[in-house]
């Protein structure tokens, strides 16, 4: 794995771009950006991003490894695909944003406490246990992610919605005891472990 290098020598050189090409999903597209800014103008969440996709692509070319990977910008993407539709150079911008976020997460550089990242982590941990999403546990985990007191407050605020779902048979309180799982729980866990192993090997993260 290439180490972070922000010395003057690496600026506007190919090192970080090459790292992105090798390790980020669709990263080979980054060099094709022509800096028109249509993605930045098309993003409905544009003002919430610290760096627009256009800037992120330029930062990658400028060798700003730490700044890019530690940024929370690509975590702001809601996958609306406006940028992909409009990009005159046909860059799969949404995919690249998710790829960058994933790569930063795997390197441990992604910003701590970033809400999108938190929810993604909770969702993933919940899912891999049984091969099925346990909605009750997932909701509770969300309520209690900021501490016990806040969790109780959140749960009380959502009480009527929860009871309504129970009455309509959309939520089974018994799921708290472990819940249902897919037919071959250990099989799916092995499959995920293998997939991760392959990906790690490919990205040099093992």
């Amino acid at each position: 794995m290439t180490t972070a290098n922000q010395s003057a020598g690496a600026k506007y050189k190919n090192s970080f771009l090459k790292e992105v090409e090798a390790n980020v999903e669709d990263g080979q597209w980054v060099k094709m950006c022509m800096q028109c800014g249509v993605c930045a103008g098309s993003c409905p969440l544009g003002p919430a991003w610290e760096h627009s996709p256009q800037k992120i692509f330029m930062m990658i070319r400028a060798g700003k490894r730490e700044e890019v990977l530690k940024s929370d910008s690509m975590w702001m993407c809601t996958s609306c695909y406006n940028c992909i539709v409009r990009c005159p150079r046909k860059l799969p911008i949404t995919h690249i944003m998710h790829g960058l976020a994933n790569y930063a997460h795997r390197l441990g550089l992604a910003p701590q406490g970033q809400p999108t990242r938190e929810i993604a982590k909770l969702f993933w941990d919940n899912l891999v246990k049984t091969g099925r999403v346990n909605e009750l546990k997932f909701s509770l985990a969300m309520y209690f992610k900021d501490g016990f007191g806040q969790g109780v407050k959140n749960a009380m605020a959502m009480q009527s919605v929860g009871l309504g779902l129970v009455k309509a048979k959309r939520l089974n309180p018994m799921e708290i005891l472990g819940g249902h799982s897919c037919k071959d729980k250990s099989g799916i866990q092995k499959m995920i472990a293998k997939a991760r192993e392959i990906e790690d090997r490919r990205k040099g993260l093992a």
């Binding site: 003057a8 506007y12 050189k13 190919n14 060099k31 094709m32 800096q35 330029m58």
Partner: protein
């Protein structure tokens, strides 16, 4: 040399068409009466469909059997049915009753009277005009050469020579250096001309030079320059001086000037590291790449280049580019694609070499976008940046502002390439020449020396009174009618091609050269038939001067936009008809009115002005004369008619060849005859001119700026003469201008001159 074919006894005939609604809207019998009693036409006939075979045959029969020599056609605009109403050797005028009257005067019986008056006036004018005309006989010269002289043996020159030779014309190619190829022969490779536009291509210069040398129709003079060009299209006597001192004379019909460009001097760009170690321009990098010949590109000190930065717009585009802003004002157009190509030299040899292109706007015209994409694919980094400084040396430093990330940064590189601009090789600046010659003639010794220096840099060494080269366009590029007719220059039969005309890349230069060769061929063919070149192509008339009345004021020789008029040994104007484009600017300039064309003269227009029936002041029917340029303003008036817009029936429009041909006598005549106002409509003047004759409309504006005095002498308001710039698309605007002017004149009141005319 000039013959006239007009028979001894002229016979005038008027033909009135009653088709297209003319007969339904107008009293044709009344028009016939006007043609007879006032027009004094010997033959008057009306036909319901004059432009059909039967109508045209009727006219032809009268010409053949009845001795008709002068024809006035009262039908549609002179711009319509021109082919049907074309009779060789016959003087022809057109009274515009359709576009000029029935289509533009408001409908309804309320307007019957003014509509009929307008039509009758146009018939009067048509009859008056044709009586003052003779049929143009052309200007055929017996010793006319069709050989094409190409000056410059680079990509443009060789392409032009091959194009002309392939079309069957003899070519003389003069090249200053000892070999063909020009700038292109210094290149390692060129930008691709064909799909997939992905890789640099071999230049093909050697093959092309071999083709030129081996072509039996092309005679190549190497190590030679043009020492003198005398004469005119069809008979240019060209002295070709070899370095050895020998002079050969060639008789040529037309000239293609393909003298290319020089690169902007690198040492003028110290702020971008110009002149320092390991900072080169694009030409310098081509030399390094050529030396490497596909191997690792090495700097002058022998070190292999591992990182390179390209600085775009170096000393170009004024403050929009890189550098101090006090260099070239323009974009040279080719440099972005050239840097892309050169970055590929490095990537092609070793993909690990860091190549950064710093641009503010990447301009890759045509299919260059594919080439750009290909470079990105290869990993060339493109950075939108403003470079603030370059330091050369073993490790070059480039200081710049990243315009996307909005921060001041710097990077290092083994080599920095500056994309500098093209400086045209266009010869002598004629303004400078005129000033120098004037000073030299008054005995200034320094000016005499400077004149000799200027003669040395001249490309064509024309012996024209107006100077030795083509007039220059903006930024010192050789003349070109940039907006409408890019190949046209102000020196008839001499066409500029390639980067001497405007900045361009190799592909554009080859296309340009083919165009210029085609124009040169047109020129020699037109000369052979004694007719004009663009924009009055095929016109057989040409200016004649009654020299016995000439006062030698020299205004015609100075004002001719095409340098067609020299001076003879007695200092009288000497017309070179083949150089003339028939605009009539000389005729407009002449204060004693001795210059005229057979079918266009002070009289043909003057008599039309006087033929109009001007009502007295109590009738409340003002009369406004419109002198409209036939190239743009008159078509705009016609189009207003085609679209059935309505304008005042008080105007009388006369087409003129160019506003430059308007002689002030016409204005004075009109005002003396009791017209209430005069509108002159011509093309846009200035740097972005649209005048087909380049300087004609400008001359007209200049002359009219001085007419206020004349108006004061006559006791008239300055508003009574107006000048407008009209584009061919201004049909709605022209209607608005006319109607507003009629309103304005109503407020001013009738001309006090009425009744004195």
């Amino acid at each position: 040399m000039n013959t006239t074919s007009a028979p001894a006894t002229p016979k005038h005939a008027a033909y009135i068409c009653s088709g297209c609604g003319i007969g339904d809207t107008l009293d044709v019998a009344g028009l016939e009466k006007v043609a007879k009693t006032e027009g004094k036409m010997a033959v008057i006939k009306t036909h319901p469909f004059l432009c059909n075979a039967e109508g045209v045959q009727m006219i032809r029969d009268d010409i053949a059997n009845d001795g008709v020599t002068h024809v006035c056609i009262a039908a549609c605009s002179r711009r319509a049915k021109a082919e049907a109403f074309q009779f060789d050797g016959i003087a022809l005028s057109r009274a515009n009753l359709r576009e000029g009257v029935i289509w533009v005067v408001a409908e309804g019986s309320d307007h019957d009277e003014v509509r009929q008056e307008m039509a009758e006036d146009y018939v009067r004018m048509g009859c008056a005009e044709v009586k003052k005309m003779t049929a143009p006989a052309g200007n055929v010269k017996e010793t006319s050469s069709k050989k094409i002289l190409v000056v410059g043996g680079g990509m443009s020159g060789m392409t032009a020579a091959l194009a002309a030779a392939d079309a069957g014309y003899e070519v003389v190619l003069v090249e200053k250096t000892g070999a063909l190829g020009g700038f292109a022969s210094n290149l390692y490779k060129r930008v691709p001309f064909n799909g997939p536009y992905a890789e640099p291509q071999p230049t093909g210069v050697e093959e092309m030079a071999a083709k030129v040398s081996g072509n039996g129709k092309i005679k190549v003079y190497l190590n030679s320059t043009v020492a003198e060009t005398a004469g005119a299209p069809g008979r240019f006597a060209v002295k070709i001086a070899a370095e050895s001192g020998s002079v050969t004379e060639e008789l040529c019909g037309a000239v293609v000037q393909a003298t290319g460009f020089t690169t902007y001097p690198l040492d003028k760009l110290p702020e971008l590291g110009g002149g320092q170690a390991n900072v080169v321009d694009q030409a310098g990098l081509e030399a390094l790449a050529k030396a490497a010949n596909g191997g690792a590109i090495k700097r002058a000190d022998g070190k292999e280049v591992k990182s390179v930065v390209f600085v775009q717009c170096a000393g170009q585009r004024g403050t929009g580019g890189n550098g101090s802003g006090s260099h070239l004002e323009y974009c040279s157009g080719h440099c972005c694609a050239t840097s892309i190509k050169q970055a590929m030299y490095f990537k092609g040899q070793n993909p690990d070499i860091d190549t950064v292109v710093m641009y503010s706007d990447l301009r890759v015209p045509g299919m260059g976008e594919d080439f750009y994409r290909s470079a990105q694919q290869k990993g060339v980094i493109f950075t939108k940046a403003k470079v603030t400084g370059v330091k050369g040396g073993d490790s070059c430093q480039v200081e710049f502002k990243d315009l996307i990330l909005d921060e001041e940064v710097s990077t290092d590189a083994d080599l920095v390439v500056l994309a500098t601009g093209q400086v045209p090789n266009a010869g002598v600046n004629l303004d400078e020449w005129t000033a120098t010659v004037t000073a030299a003639e008054s005995g200034d010794e320094a000016a005499k020396g400077k004149k000799t220096e200027l003669q040395k840099i001249s490309v064509l060494n024309l012996n024209y009174r107006q100077g030795p080269d083509m007039p220059q366009f903006k930024y010192g590029f050789a003349d070109s009618h940039f907006i409408c007719f890019p190949y046209e220059t102000r020196r008839t039969g001499i066409y500029a091609a390639g980067p001497t005309r405007r900045p361009m890349d190799m592909f554009q230069a080859t296309e340009d050269a083919i165009g210029a060769a085609m124009k040169a061929i047109q020129a020699v063919e037109n000369v052979e038939k004694g007719r004009a070149a663009h924009p009055r192509a095929w016109d057989l008339s040409f200016p004649k001067a009654r020299l016995e009345g000439c006062t030698q004021c020299k205004r015609c020789t100075v004002e001719c936009p095409f340098g067609a008029i020299d001076e003879d040994e007695k200092r009288f104007p000497l017309f070179n008809e083949e150089r003339c484009r028939r605009c009539g600017t000389c005729m407009g300039a002449c204060p004693v009115r001795v210059i005229s064309f057979e079918n266009y003269s002070c009289d043909t227009v003057g008599m039309q002005i006087k033929a109009v029936n001007v009502p007295d002041e109590f009738e409340e029917k003002p009369r406004i004369l419109i002198l409209a340029c036939e190239n743009d303003a008159y078509p705009a008036l016609d189009m207003a008619g085609v679209q059935r817009m309505t304008y005042s029936a008080f105007v009388r429009a006369i087409p003129v060849r160019c506003l430059g041909s308007v002689n002030t006598i016409w204005i004075t005549d009109a005002l003396n005859s009791g017209y209430d106002g005069v509108m002159m409509m011509g093309c846009k003047k200035g740097d972005d001119y649209q005048c087909h004759f380049v300087k004609g409309s400008e001359m007209a504006y200049y002359r009219m700026s001085k007419i206020d005095d004349t108006l004061k002498q006559l006791g008239l308001e300055p508003e009574r003469v107006q000048t407008h710039e009209i584009a061919i698309t201004d049909n709605a605007r022209v209607v608005k201008l006319i109607n507003e002017y009629v309103e304005q004149l109503n407020e001013i009141g009738p001309s006090p001159m009425k009744g004195f005319g």
